[in-house]
Symmetry: none
């Protein structure tokens, strides 16, 4: 199981490309170099995790019941699945952030990767420092 830790800031080019921090990549299974992301439901950030995490969420959804029991779109698991995208990491270690996701997180030219164990988050430097409080200035 992957374990994401520490904090890294990388540049985002005009196409939305950004390098996934190497330590994050190395915790991913070597046969599936991809990450799944979605706009956070609670903050101005992007939530990230590995693919197996998505399958766990999917299993929580009994789709058979979903088709016959009303109230689907508001189901939390459905919300996560419908909003998440799986981004493949290219041979240079980069992903392309979807425009809408960047917009949600207020990301333009730099992205802060924050390891949180089984998951991580991607912030804009500005939003991250604001959310963290004033005791952060050495993000460079």
């Amino acid at each position: 199981m992957p374990l994401f830790s520490s904090t890294y800031t990388n540049k985002v080019d005009k196409k939305g490309r950004v390098s996934v921090p190497a330590p994050f990549r190395s915790t991913l299974p070597s046969d599936d170099q991809s990450i799944s992301v979605l706009p956070s439901l609670v903050s101005k950030a992007i939530e990230g995790f590995d693919y197996s995490y998505l399958t766990q969420i999917s299993e929580r959804l009994d789709n058979y019941d979903m088709m016959t029991v009303p109230g689907q779109p508001s189901n939390p698991a459905a919300k996560i699945l419908s909003r998440s995208m799986t981004l493949s990491i290219d041979s240079d270690g980069r992903i392309v952030l979807p425009q809408e996701f960047m917009k949600h997180a207020g990301i333009s030219d730099r992205a802060v990767f924050v390891g949180l164990g089984k998951t991580f988050q991607i912030w804009s430097p500005e939003e991250y420092t604001a959310a963290m409080g004033q005791d952060e200035e050495e993000l460079m």
Copy 2:
């Protein structure tokens, strides 16, 4: 096992043709590029899944004692099987939505594909935003 996620909006032409989002296609088994669909039993949408999912539902129906339990058509599994159609994906990655299905979902010229894990749904943009609530505007 395929896992459908994220949300995509594609155009529907006058013939009812629409591209299946490439990420959805790639989760399907390469030797069976088709999807099975039915009008949702609970909402103004089309339910979709791959063929193997249909067989699972069929097995549920087999476990159901048809000889002793009356009113089989009301069995959800029976309802799903009887209403489902399997649509083949053409060489350009498109399907043709049956007219009745489009009518059920209120689809005219655009279709929203919503990934929900083992299954997905197809909505009209209008109905989908209405069903999701007010907090969705970036469907593009």
